[in-house]
C-alpha cells in the first residue's frame, strides 16, 4: 500500500543555514506521527516543506504516490493536505462558519451562495467535529485562545483532507484544554494521516503511534513512543531541555 504522504531526503537551506537536512518520512491513514525536538530543530520548516509553503532545496515529496515536489501550496492543499499553523492564522473579521466554509473544496466559483449551500453543511460538520458547533456565527476575533486553536484545526478539517499537518496545535493551552484536545487528536487519527509537531510531551506520548526526534535539522531518532522514551541518544540531546 502506498503511503498517504511520503518524503524522501528532504533538505532546505536558508543562506548558510541547513534548516532541514535529509529528512525522510512516511505517513499512512490511521496513523499519528509526532515530530518533536528543541526549538530551531527544523520542525516548522519541515511542515512548511511538506505543505508546499516553501520548495525544498533537495529531496522529494509524494502524495498517494504522486510526486508533488515543488508544487505550490494551494495545489498540495487540493491533493488532500490540510494544515494548521503554529500561530493562529485565520480571517479574524469573518465568522467561524465563514472561516471554515472558505476551506471546503468547491467548484462553481460563480454560483451564488445560499445559506443552504452544500459547502455550508460540510463546514458545519467540520466545526462540529472540533467542538465549535455552537459558535458558528461568532466573529473569529471574539473567540478565546483555546477556541481559536480549535478553529485552526476545524478549518484544516473543512478541506476534507487525507493528511493533517498540525503545527503545535496545543500552543498556549492550559492542562485541562490539552486533555480534551488529546482526545480530539486520537479521534482525528482514526480516519486521517496526522503529522503532529508539539511541545507538550505528555500529550505527544499519549497520542502518538510513531515519533521522530529532530535536532539541528536532522532526524535524531525514530520509533514507537516507548522506544523514544528509552533512547539514550534522545535523552542526551534533550539534556537541559524540558523533557
Amino acid at each position: 500500500m502506498t503511503a498517504a504522504l511520503q518524503a524522501v531526503g528532504l533538505s532546505r537551506r536558508f543562506g548558510g543555514l541547513l534548516a532541514v537536512s535529509d529528512v525522510s518520512l512516511e505517513l499512512s491513514v490511521g496513523e499519528l506521527h509526532a515530530v518533536i525536538g528543541p526549538n530551531g530543530a527544523g520542525k516548522s520548516t519541515l511542515v512548511n516543506l511538506l505543505a508546499g509553503e516553501i520548495p525544498p532545496t533537495s529531496g522529494s515529496v509524494r502524495i498517494d504516490g504522486q510526486d508533488v515536489t515543488g508544487w505550490s501550496a494551494w495545489r498540495i492543499a487540493r491533493c488532500g493536505i490540510g494544515r494548521s499553523f503554529q500561530r493562529t492564522n485565520l480571517m479574524p473579521d469573518m465568522t467561524v462558519l465563514e472561516n471554515a466554509r472558505l476551506a471546503v473544496p468547491a467548484r462553481h466559483l460563480w454560483r451564488r451562495l445560499r445559506p443552504n449551500h452544500p459547502s455550508m453543511a460540510n463546514a458545519r460538520s467540520a466545526l462540529a467535529r472540533v467542538g465549535l458547533a455552537d459558535l458558528t456565527d461568532r466573529i473569529a476575533a471574539t473567540l478565546s485562545h483555546g477556541q481559536l486553536r480549535q478553529l485552526e484545526i476545524g478549518v484544516a478539517l473543512a478541506l476534507q483532507p487525507k493528511v493533517l499537518l498540525l503545527d503545535e496545535p496545543l500552543a498556549g493551552m492550559g492542562p485541562e484544554e490539552s486533555e480534551a484536545f488529546a482526545g480530539l487528536l486520537r479521534e482525528l487519527a482514526q480516519d486521517h494521516a496526522v503529522l503532529l509537531v508539539e511541545h507538550d510531551m505528555d500529550v505527544v506520548f499519549s497520542v502518538a503511534h510513531r515519533m521522530t526526534v529532530m535536532l539541528d535539522g536532522r532526524v535524531l531518532a525514530r520509533g514507537a513512543p516507548d522506544e523514544i522514551r528509552a533512547s539514550p541518544a534522545v535523552r542526551d540531546a534533550y539534556l537541559g531541555h524540558d523533557v
Binding site: 480571517m91 466559483l109 459547502s119 478541506l159
Partner: protein
C-alpha cells in the same frame, strides 16, 4: 466587502429615482454634474473590487479606464461611422479586460508595495503608448464619434438621455458586483484580502482568483471609460494618467473601503466637494490635497461607515 442591507439598497434605489427624475427639475448643468459623478462612481466601483475585495491597491486602473474610452475612438475610426452602443460597450469592456489579462500575470507576481509600483509603471507605459505614438491620435487627444444609442438625439435631449444611460449602466454595474460578492468567488476574494497565505493553505489558487478580479475590474473600468467617452465625445491621454487612479482611490477611501456602495457615495461627495472648492478658490490642488489629508486622517471607514452598512 460589506454590502448594503435591504434598507441600504432601498435607499440607493430611492437615490437612483431622484437622479432619474432630474430631467424634470434640474438644469442641464446639474444633470451633467450628476453624470460626471456617476461615471466617477463606476470607475471607483471597479477599483473597489480590487481594493475592498482582495486588498489589491492598483494604480493602473486609470489606464484601463482610458483604454475603454479610446476603444470607442478606435472603433469609430475603423468603422468610419459611429458604432452602436451594443457593440462599443462590450468592446470597451473586452479591450480593457484583455489589457488587464495581459498585465495582470506580471503585476500579480508581486504583492504589496511591488504590486503598487508595478501597476503604476505598467499604467504609465499605456499612458505613454497613447501619449507618444499615433495609435490614439496623439498627445492632444481626439474627438470621437459618439456611440449610437439607437435613436437620434437633439442638442436638448442629449443631456437627459446621457444622464439616464449613465444611471442605467451604473445600476447594472452595482447589481453585478453585488451578485459577484455574494458568490463563492466573492467570499474567496474577501478571504484573500483577510489572509492570503491561509487561503493558499486552504487549497485556493490565490493568483488565479486575483487575476480574475484584476481582469473583471479592468473590464468594469473600461465600461466607465466608455461612458466617459460617450458623454464627452472626446478622449485624451491624460485619462490614462496615474493621477486619475489616485483620484479614484480617494473616492474609494472617501466612500469607505470595503463597502460596495461606498464608491457611489464617495463619487457624489467628491464631485460636490470639487464644485464647492472651485467656488471659493482657484487653488484646486490645495482643496484636493486637504480633502485627501482629512479623509486619510479622520475618515477611516469612509462615508459608508457613517451610514446604513452592516
Amino acid at each position: 466587502m460589506r454590502c448594503a442591507t435591504l434598507r441600504g439598497n432601498l435607499l440607493l434605489a430611492v437615490a437612483a429615482l431622484v437622479v432619474a427624475c432630474m430631467p424634470f427639475y434640474a438644469s442641464p448643468y446639474h444633470m451633467q454634474l450628476a453624470s460626471i459623478a456617476m461615471i466617477a462612481a463606476m470607475f471607483a466601483l471597479s477599483l473597489q473590487l480590487l481594493v475592498g475585495g482582495a486588498g489589491m491597491v492598483s494604480l493602473a486602473q486609470a489606464a484601463f479606464f482610458g483604454l475603454g474610452a479610446y476603444t470607442v475612438y478606435l472603433l469609430g475610426r475603423t468603422l468610419g461611422r459611429p458604432p452602436s452602443i451594443l457593440v462599443s460597450l462590450p468592446a470597451s469592456a473586452a479591450v480593457a479586460g484583455i489589457a488587464a489579462a495581459l498585465i495582470g500575470p506580471f503585476a500579480l507576481r508581486t504583492r504589496g508595495f511591488f504590486f503598487l509600483m508595478t501597476t503604476l509603471a505598467f499604467g504609465q507605459m499605456l499612458f505613454f503608448v497613447f501619449h507618444d505614438t499615433p495609435i490614439g491620435g496623439g498627445a492632444d487627444g481626439v474627438f470621437i464619434q459618439r456611440p449610437d444609442l439607437g435613436f437620434a438625439l437633439t442638442r436638448a435631449s442629449r443631456t437627459p438621455v446621457f444622464l439616464l444611460t449613465d444611471l442605467a449602466v451604473l445600476a447594472a454595474m452595482y447589481a453585478a458586483l453585488w451578485w459577484l460578492m455574494h458568490t463563492l468567488f466573492g467570499s474567496v476574494l474577501l478571504g484573500i484580502r483577510a489572509n492570503e497565505d491561509r487561503m493558499r493553505a486552504m487549497g485556493h489558487n490565490v493568483t488565479r482568483v486575483k487575476l480574475a478580479a484584476f481582469v473583471i475590474a479592468g473590464a468594469l473600468a473600461g465600461i466607465a471609460g466608455h461612458m466617459a467617452a460617450l458623454n464627452d465625445a472626446f478622449v485624451n491621454p491624460e485619462l490614462l494618467g496615474w493621477h486619475r487612479s489616485a483620484e479614484a482611490l480617494l473616492i474609494v477611501l472617501l466612500g469607505g473601503i470595503g463597502a460596495l456602495h461606498g464608491p457611489i457615495l464617495g463619487a457624489f461627495a467628491y464631485t460636490l466637494i470639487g464644485e464647492f472648492g472651485r467656488s471659493i478658490t482657484e487653488r484646486q490642488r490645495l482643496v484636493e490635497g486637504l480633502v485627501i489629508l482629512a479623509a486619510v486622517l479622520l475618515l477611516r471607514r469612509g462615508l459608508a461607515g457613517l451610514r446604513f452598512a452592516r
